[in-house]
Symmetry: D2
Amino acid sequence: MIYSRKVFFYETDAQGIVHHSNYARYFEEARGFFLEQKGMPYEKIREELNIDIVLLELSIHYKKPLRFGDVFSIHLNLSSMDRYFFSFDYTVYLGKIIIAEGKTKHACIDRKTGKIVTVPQVLKQWKN
Amino acid sequence: MIYSRKVFFYETDAQGIVHHSNYARYFEEARGFFLEQKGMPYEKIREELNIDIVLLELSIHYKKPLRFGDVFSIHLNLSSMDRYFFSFDYTVYLGKIIIAEGKTKHACIDRKTGKIVTVPQVLKQWKN
Amino acid sequence: MIYSRKVFFYETDAQGIVHHSNYARYFEEARGFFLEQKGMPYEKIREELNIDIVLLELSIHYKKPLRFGDVFSIHLNLSSMDRYFFSFDYTVYLGKIIIAEGKTKHACIDRKTGKIVTVPQVLKQWKN
Amino acid sequence: MIYSRKVFFYETDAQGIVHHSNYARYFEEARGFFLEQKGMPYEKIREELNIDIVLLELSIHYKKPLRFGDVFSIHLNLSSMDRYFFSFDYTVYLGKIIIAEGKTKHACIDRKTGKIVTVPQVLKQWKN
């Protein structure tokens, strides 16, 4: 799945490039887009299933900078899924240039107890 | 009361200066410092009094930019307080240079109902 | 002109609503959209005219909160323009509910000298 | 070296915890503190040596959440250094509880050309 948008000015820093912390936010936007496209936006997951999706691991390799005005696209892929955990892979492109590659690992927690619960069936089915 | 700290790199933008949206965050930090100095940190207000302090109005006049590495100080003053509303005034300094001036207006809401409640006595006493 | 998008999760705070500082960023996004629609995106203004648009004044009245998943729209209007200064008015809507109203005042500065310059003709013509 | 500060309210999200993207910013703050303690703050490195320090890789393992009002401390360590690259390790603590562990890899670039340059001697000496 591909998520795309333009860099906002407030996402740049004094090096003239997108501040690295924003890539974690771009990945979150891309996951939100993924859930929406699957017909199950995250706000619905939170309210109907009463779970929060939490981030356990994040890794990013930065290859080239993004600048203000760039329109980037993120190719994201639900790369693994088991009983309790699932992961996404991300490749950030500017045209055909690879800007960054990343990976996130997640679990679902009960919003009341904060305890990890098994991944709901509705999410599990999205793995191929 | 004076709150002071150094500009973080991630607060700058591609103009090489602190992005204007961060001043609203600096003001919030300064209010948090004010509450702490009064012996009633905001996390305690939230939990013990079960209220949230919300922002109703914000205004900022930007005079000069802040840059990475600058150590700014904010002079803040609880400028008005009545039954339901209270306001802070802020002057941001870099040394003796005025960087910005601002004002915020607030109310307290019940964390469960979201309705505005009278300002708790503990806050009211600070406006002498 | 109307700019619209969905609230990102990372824009919320522990009160469960969009943090107030993000409205200044939404306004910047809306201005960027305005410049794009006018055929003169800000990155082009910066490079071709060698000017930066700076923010001199910001004011926001918060009426109702935005929450994660909300799709807000900002009605923005270039409300005044003279030789050196121009202003935008903003009304943030969720459906027909007014969420916030704001105003920003700007000037153009030479990117090398940092001095205020007269507003370029290309921008001036946008005022009606 | 240990860097410590209190969580700001605007760093929390609607899950009631510090948003994960802020850890990348905390790490940057900790590196800034490290450079300051070594007598060579980053703003001085940028101006005097005419280099930018860029981030090439970031990884974070999130163990426990941070909440508003928490005073966290980051133990950071310059873990490797060669001709072109250097890395920091980070452990974020709340009291004795490990909140997160992270790692960043960096290089220095010439601010004019954007090309990677050898790590300046002043930085190399810090790796005992």
